[in-house]
Symmetry: D2
Subunit: 320 residues, 4 copies
C-alpha cells in the first residue's frame, strides 16, 4: 500500500480521510448568529450557550458559515453512498482520464458477517472461520483477475473509459470533498449511525474527529440535541400520557424548580432569605421547611436555565 | 382589490395562494421507494404503512419525487422570509421591468399586538383600540404617500428601478414558486409553527391545504412524526430516567405487548389457544389468567406493529 | 433480458429511459416569465419568440418551472457520471436492501475502440476484430464469474451489503430521476456532447427526445443559442479583429439592414415609397438605386428583428 | 453614518462589502483538478495554463473548492436581487428580533436617471437638476417619515415584526454571505454586467476586487473566456459563413500556423533548418521562401498552443 499522506486518518485497509483546509469554527457560528440578532445581544449569552440554543431550535444557517475540505480515499461502493449528499463540492479521480491503480478493499475477518435477519440493510452474527477465509479469497481473486484483464486491455490500447467497466466496486477511488458544517453534521448523523454500513461509518467517524477539533461546541450540541436526542411521535405520546402518572411528571417538575433556583443562585448570588421565594417563582410547591431540607442537602445540580424551562414546558404539555 | 384568480385561497387582505400544478402524490412516493427496495417488497406494506415508515426513519428522497407549483401574492416582508427556502424555483414580478401596483397590506385589528416580552421574535396581548386605529392609519398614510410619490416620479420619467426604492415592504408582490414535497413539508413545518410570524403562517397554512389534498398519507405522517413529535435531548433523558420509575415503564411495555398481540391477531386470525403464547413472545409478563381477563375486556386497541416495536425499544433504553 | 417497461426507450444492451411524468411545457415557461414581466407584455411576443429571448439572454428561472421524472436503467459506471448533476432528485435500487440481478453491460463491437491519442478522455479508431472479440469475452467472463461468487456468498448467508462489493461497475442499476428543464438541458448539453462518453450519451439522447416532445420551443432555442452556438474568447476576438477586414464586417452589416427592413415590411406592410427610408433607418448605406435593385431581386431572407439587431451590435463592436 | 468596519470597501452612501474570510485560491483549484487527472499530469501544465484550460472547457468543479465569506450592508431592494443566488449561505440582520436602524439609501445626483426607452429594465440620460433635487427630497422625506412612525410604534410597544412593515426598501440591512468561487464568479458575471442595476453592480464590483486578490488566475480566465467572450448563435453563424470569404478565414488560419510555430520554438528551441517543417505540420501553406521572409520580419507573436489549436478548429468549422 502507498504511504498515507501527512495528517491522514487511516480508514479500512487502504483508505484515508485527511482534513485539507477549514474556514471558521465555533467563533464563526457565533459571529454569524450575532449579525442576525444585532449588536445588543452580544453580552447575553456566552458562545457555548448560544451555539446550544441555535442547535436546539434548529437555527441551522449559522452552522453553514463554517466550511471543511477533505481529501478522502475509499472503495467505489462507499463513494456511491457518500455522493448522495448533494450539497458537497467534489473533485474525483477520473478513470476516463487516468489509469486505475491496483488498490482494492479486502474486508478484515471481523467485519465479514451474516445478513441480518431483522434488518434488510444490515449484517449480524459471527461467521465461521472457513467462510471468512472463502470471502477473503474471493475478494482477492476477483480483484486480481479483473485488474489483470484491465492492464492487458490497457496495453492493447483499448480506451481506458471502456476497459475500466470490468473493475469491481471494491476498487479504491479518491476525491476532494468540501462541505459546510451544517451539512457535514447531517452527513455524520446519518453515516455514523449504527444503521449505516460499516465501511462508510469508518470514514464518517474519521471526519467527526475533525469536527470535534475545529468546532467542539457545535459538535457537543449536535450530539446532545440531535444524535442522542429521543423523539416521540404523536402516537407514542398518547401512550406515554395514558400511563405516565401525573405524580411522576410532578416529581420531575419539582426537580426542575430546584435546579433552576440553584442555577440562578449560582449565576448571581442571592441572600439566603430570597431563595425560597425564587424557588416558588420557578413553580416549586414544597413547603419552606421541606425546601430548606433539600436545599441544604447539597444534592441539587445546576444546569442551563433556558433548557430547563423548555423541558418544563414539554412535560407540562404531557400533563394536559 | 382585484379579483382573486380561480381556485385561489385568499390570504391576508389582498394576497392569495393558488396551486397551479402538481406532479404525483402518495402513489409517486410509494413508486419511488419501491425502486429502491426492489420488486419483491411490493406486497409487504400497504401504501400508507410504507409512507409512514419512510417518514419515521427520515427516508426523505421518495418525498422529493412529488412536485408542487404555486402562484402566490404576498407582502414583500413576507416574501423576504419565504425566499430563504433555497430549494424552490421562483419567478417573481419585477419592479425593474413593470410598474408597481397600488396594493399594500393593512393588518386587521385582531393581529395588531404588542411585542412579546418572552420571545424577542413574537407578539402577544391585546392592544387598546386607539392604538390599533393609529397603526392602521399610519399603514394607510405611509402606503398612500409613498405610492403617490412613486407615481409622480414615474410620470416624470424617472427610472422604475430607482423610483421603487421608496416603496415600503408592505407592498404586495407575486410569484410562481415551485418545490418538491419534502422541502415543502419542511417549509410548512417551520412557517406554520406557532413561532412563525402570523403573516407568513397564513400562506403556509394555505399551501398545507394543497398538500393534504394531493398527498394525504404523507401529510398525516409528517404531522405524526415531525410536527407533533416531541424530542427529548440527552440531558432531558437523564432527568426522565432518574425520575421515571421502572414500574411506570414496565406498565407501558406491558400495554404494548397487548397491543401488538391484538394487532397480529387482527391482521391474521389466530386460534384462541395460540394467543397467550403470542403475547408472551411480545414480552408480555402477565399470568395466563390475567391475560384472559384483560383480553376479554375488549379494551385493547390495535396499532401498527412496527411502530409499537420501535416504541418498545425506546422505552427499554430508558430503563437501562 | 427482461422486457422493457411500456414507453421505454432502449439504451445500450439492457438499459432504458422512460418518461414517467412531467409537469408543464413551453406554456409553463411563458406563464412564469409573464409573472416577472407583468400582465401588460403578454401581447408583445408570441410564445416562441419569448422563449428564444429568455434563452438568448440566459434568463434561466422560467425554464426551472418545467419538471421531468424519468425511470432509467444503466450500468453503474454510467450512473456514477450521471449522479454528479446534483440538482436532481434520485431514488436508486439498493444493493444493501435487495439482491443484485444478473444483468451486465456488454459493449457491442462497434463501440470497442482504442484510447484516443488526442483526448485523454476519449476513444477513437477501428479495433481489429480479434481484439474486439477478446474484450467481449473478458466482459462476459468477469461478469459471470463475479455474479457466480456473489450468488454463492448470498446463499451462504453473507451480508448482501458486503457481498455486492465484488460486482463490477458494468452491472446494471436503476433509478427514478427527477429534474427541472433548465438543469435537464444543462445535463443534455454536457452529456450529449461529442466529448461525453458514448455510454452516457445514449441515455442523454434518449432523454432529449422527451424534452423535444414536451417543450419543443425550449429545445430549439437551447440548440440554437447554447449547443450550436460558438463562443470566441477575448484572445480569439483580437485575432478576428486584426484579420477580419472592415469591409467584410460592413458587408454583413449591410446584409442585416436588408433583412431587418424585409422583416419589418413582412410583419406590417409598408408603402413601396417608405421602404428605402426604413432601410436607411436600419443603417443601410446603399444608394436608393442599388437598394431597389437588390430588393427586387427577391433574395432577401427575413428573420427575427430583435436577434438581427443584437447581431449588428456584436459586429459593430468587432469593428471598433 | 456609522464608521466602516476595518478593511471594508464602501458601497453606495452607507453600505459596504468586507471580505471576512476565504479558503484556498488559485492553488486550491489546481490541487483539486489534479486529483481528477491523477498524479502523472502535474508536470504538464503550469498553474495558470491549467486554470485557463478548466475555465475554457467549463470544468467548473475545481472552482467550487475555493470559498469566500463576506460581511455586506446594502439596501433591502439590493438584498432582494442578491438573495436569488441560491447556492450562497446567508445570515441576515433580523427585523423581527432586533430594532431597525435609521440608515436609508439616498441616491447621489449622478445616478438619478430616466427610464430607458430601449431597455425596460434600465435607466439612461441626464435628468434636469430640479428633478434630481425632487427625487432626493422625496427619498429623504419618505425615509424620515416612515422611520419616525416606526419609532413611535416601537415605543408604544407594538410588535417589531409588524411595525417594520412600513419601512421602505431603501432601508439598509446587513448579512454574512458565503459562497464558493464558481458561484461567486457567476454572480459577478451577472451583477457586474452593464445590464445589472447600478446599485447592485457597486457591490458586485467590490466583491470582484477580493476575487482578483485571492485567485488572480481564475479571475483573469473568467474575464477572457466568459465575460469578454462573444457568443454567436447558430443563426448568426450562418450569416457569418455566408459573408466571411474563405480567403479571410484562410488568412487567419495561416496566421495561427505562424503563431503556433513561434510558440513551440520559444518553448523548446529548434534548429533553424527544422522550423519550416514544423510550420508545415501546423497547417502552414506558404512557400519556404515566403516563410523565411515573414519569419525574419520578427512580427510574429507567441501565444498558448492549445488555445491556438482550438481556435483553428472553430475557424475550420466555419469554412465547411
Amino acid at each position: 500500500m502507498k504511504q498515507l499522506p501527512e495528517n491522514a486518518i487511516k480508514c479500512l485497509d487502504k483508505g484515508f480521510v485527511r482534513l485539507v483546509d477549514s474556514m471558521g469554527g465555533d467563533d464563526a457560528i457565533v459571529q454569524a448568529a450575532r449579525v442576525s440578532y444585532g449588536q445588543g445581544t452580544s453580552k447575553i449569552s456566552q458562545d457555548r450557550g448560544l451555539i446550544r440554543y441555535l442547535m436546539r431550535h434548529r437555527h441551522t444557517t449559522p452552522f453553514e458559515m463554517v466550511e471543511f475540505k477533505f481529501h478522502c480515499k475509499m472503495p467505489i461502493f462507499v463513494a456511491r453512498q457518500w455522493v448522495r449528499h448533494r450539497t458537497a463540492n467534489i473533485n474525483e479521480y477520473s478513470l476516463r482520464y487516468s489509469e486505475a491503480r491496483d488498490e482494492f478493499y479486502y474486508p478484515d475477518p471481523e467485519h465479514i458477517q451474516f445478513q441480518s435477519a431483522f434488518n434488510k440493510q444490515g449484517r449480524m452474527g459471527e461467521v465461521p472461520a472457513d467462510l471468512k477465509q472463502k470471502v477473503q479469497n474471493y475478494f482477492k481473486e476477483i480483484s486480481e483477475k479483473s485488474f489483470g484483464i484491465y492492464l492487458e486491455l490497457n496495453e492493447a490500447g483499448v480506451a481506458r473509459e471502456l476497459a475500466r467497466a470490468i473493475l469491481p466496486v471494491n476498487l479504491y477511488t479518491e476525491w476532494y470533498w468540501k462541505n459546510d458544517l451544517h451539512n457535514l453534521l447531517h452527513f455524520i448523523g446519518l453515516r455514523s449511525d449504527s444503521h449505516a454500513q460499516y465501511e462508510i461509518r469508518v470514514f464518517s467517524d474519521a471526519m467527526a474527529d475533525s469536527v470535534k477539533a475545529v468546532a467542539p461546541f457545535a459538535w457537543e450540541a449536535y450530539q446532545d440535541y440531535v444524535v442522542k436526542g429521543m423523539r416521540f411521535s404523536r402516537i407514542e405520546q398518547s401512550l406515554l400520557e395514558k400511563q405516565l402518572p401525573s405524580r411522576v411528571v410532578d416529581d420531575i417538575l419539582e426537580d426542575i424548580a430546584y435546579q433552576i433556583t440553584a442555577t440562578l443562585h449560582y449565576n448571581k448570588h442571592r441572600e439566603d432569605s430570597d431563595l425560597y421565594q425564587l424557588y416558588q417563582k420557578q413553580g416549586g410547591s414544597n413547603s419552606e421547611e421541606d425546601f430548606r431540607l433539600k436545599w441544604n442537602s447539597g444534592e441539587i445540580m445546576i444546569g442551563n436555565v433556558r433548557e430547563l424551562r423548555e423541558f418544563k414546558l414539554k412535560l407540562e404539555s404531557l400533563n394536559n
